[in-house]
Symmetry: C2
Subunit: 254 residues, 2 copies
DNA sequence: CCGATAGAAATGCCAGACAATTAAATGCCT
DNA sequence: AGGCATTTAATTGTCTGGCATTTCTATCGG
């Protein structure tokens, strides 16, 4: 008759939840100091190791930071865009890798979101954004680049595109979608010819932004999506085959 | 001379990172069992509490689950869309609430992303999606609804819109953006007239989807964004005033 | 053949102690 | 009186050892 699942959960999880709720509700503000581990242990009537486990849980979510020494302790952490992005990327990457998400699905989601910022980007892009994008394009044209380096540069270019929309919240959200795709992209072998094609599309994309032509940027992104999808077909097939081998139950589909 | 920051970090953080890397790299697959706490303690030459702290960190990120009993232990967790979404929402909510993000910025990001899925939604929406949206519209037209309930229904409608794009990755990413806005939206007092206007826009949005008219859906979303922004101006002003009072250094603006 | 029971393996939790770190307080010398 | 070294106190980090609880397995008895 254990209807309430929260009461059955670990003590450290309960304590973590309790403190997390206080942070989310605003009862604990950024840079506030939590009671010491000993005091928390008293308050919750548990041992210090249990309190510590709870605090580590919160630390793993970047909700608190701890400082050692006399007036140290656990402090509510002001979550920065960078940290939030890092966590978002970790979660997204894991989600994609653990669920055998199809390349085309992830690709579609990514480009749908990227195309969401063409209008803003065309309006707000600065010279610095364009310069960053052109720098990546130059790098991508360098002969002898490894596939990983090429992909990393691709991600950097797309992040510059997203940033050029001038909306930090949008950047934060889209960074997860773009970066999480990298492991999938890294599986692709980029031939010299495909790189040439991509560099060309990237150039046209940057040109469109420079001309503040949102429609053109959108068109180029659509082309890029189609081409990426094309390149990824091999990856898709390989993943599908692997899944089939794992499951070995549905030899449907020719 | 502590140049390397990772070596200075907590042992539990190091161990957590080590295991996390193994999961991310694929060395540990979903449902794989980790060594027992005692074995891990041996391997890393630390005590069991330290190992436990590391495991709690991973548990907080939904990377592992633990089972008690004879053949229990820590197992690599297959991250589901739902869990990933929950984490994403938590992080996004926290980010917005802790950084005094301006209402218009968050709103712009949210609608930019939502508009990203109008094309797909118009193509793939099913009767179930439309029904879900209309059900929320009906609820929103109910007199005497609290602002919170109205907002919650608003979120539900927008999630149905997002889901109608038929791309789980897109749904996952956008859920964070939409849900994270709710605390900000909850601050708005919705008058009877503003509700009427919103219900009207929602209806037109659903109609557009039913007609598979992506352009019209996009237009309605733009209108909705403009109206939401308008309603949020009061919130923005209040937040700005609070910030000024906190800082109390720039008495500009009359 | 089935059910009860004991054993084993693992996590969950606790108590107490010591080490390491850091800021403040103190004291000393100039 | 002021600046520097030293002590002190508070706090987190870690370890040892143990007990409680849960859950699967295997054994034993009916």
């Amino acid at each position: 008759m254990k209807s309430d699942k929260t009461t059955t959960a670990d003590l450290s999880a309960q304590i973590a939840k309790s403190i997390r709720d206080q942070i989310l509700s605003g009862a604990l503000l950024a840079d506030d100091r939590l009671p010491s581990e000993a005091e928390l242990a008293d308050q919750f009537s548990v041992s210090r190791p249990t309190v510590r486990e709870a605090l580590k849980r919160l630390a793993a979510q970047s909700l608190i930071r701890t400082e050692r020494g006399a007036f140290g302790g656990a402090f509510v952490r002001r979550l920065s865009y960078g940290e939030a992005q890092t966590q978002n990327i970790t979660t997204s990457t894991l989600l994609l890798s653990m669920n055998d998400v199809r390349f085309d699905v992830a690709c579609e989601a990514r480009y749908a979101m990227e195309r969401a910022c063409t209008v803003l980007a065309a309006k707000r892009r600065t010279g610095a954004h364009l310069a960053a994008m052109r720098a990546e394009i130059t790098r991508q044209a360098t002969p002898g680049l490894s596939d990983e380096t090429f992909c990393a540069s691709d991600v950097a270019l797309h992040r510059a595109l997203v940033d050029s929309a001038g909306n930090p919240v949008l950047s934060y959200q889209l960074a997860g979608a773009v970066e999480a795709m990298q492991p999938l992209m890294n599986m692709i072998t980029f031939t010299a010819r495909s790189r040439e094609r991509i560099v060309d599309l990237h150039t046209r994309l940057t040109d469109a932004l420079e001309a503040r032509d949102a429609a053109q940027a959108d068109t180029v992104l659509a082309d890029l999506q189609a081409y990426t999808l094309d390149l990824g077909q091999g990856v898709m097939a390989a993943r599908a085959a692997r899944r089939e081998k794992h499951h070995a139950d549905s030899p449907v589909e020719g």
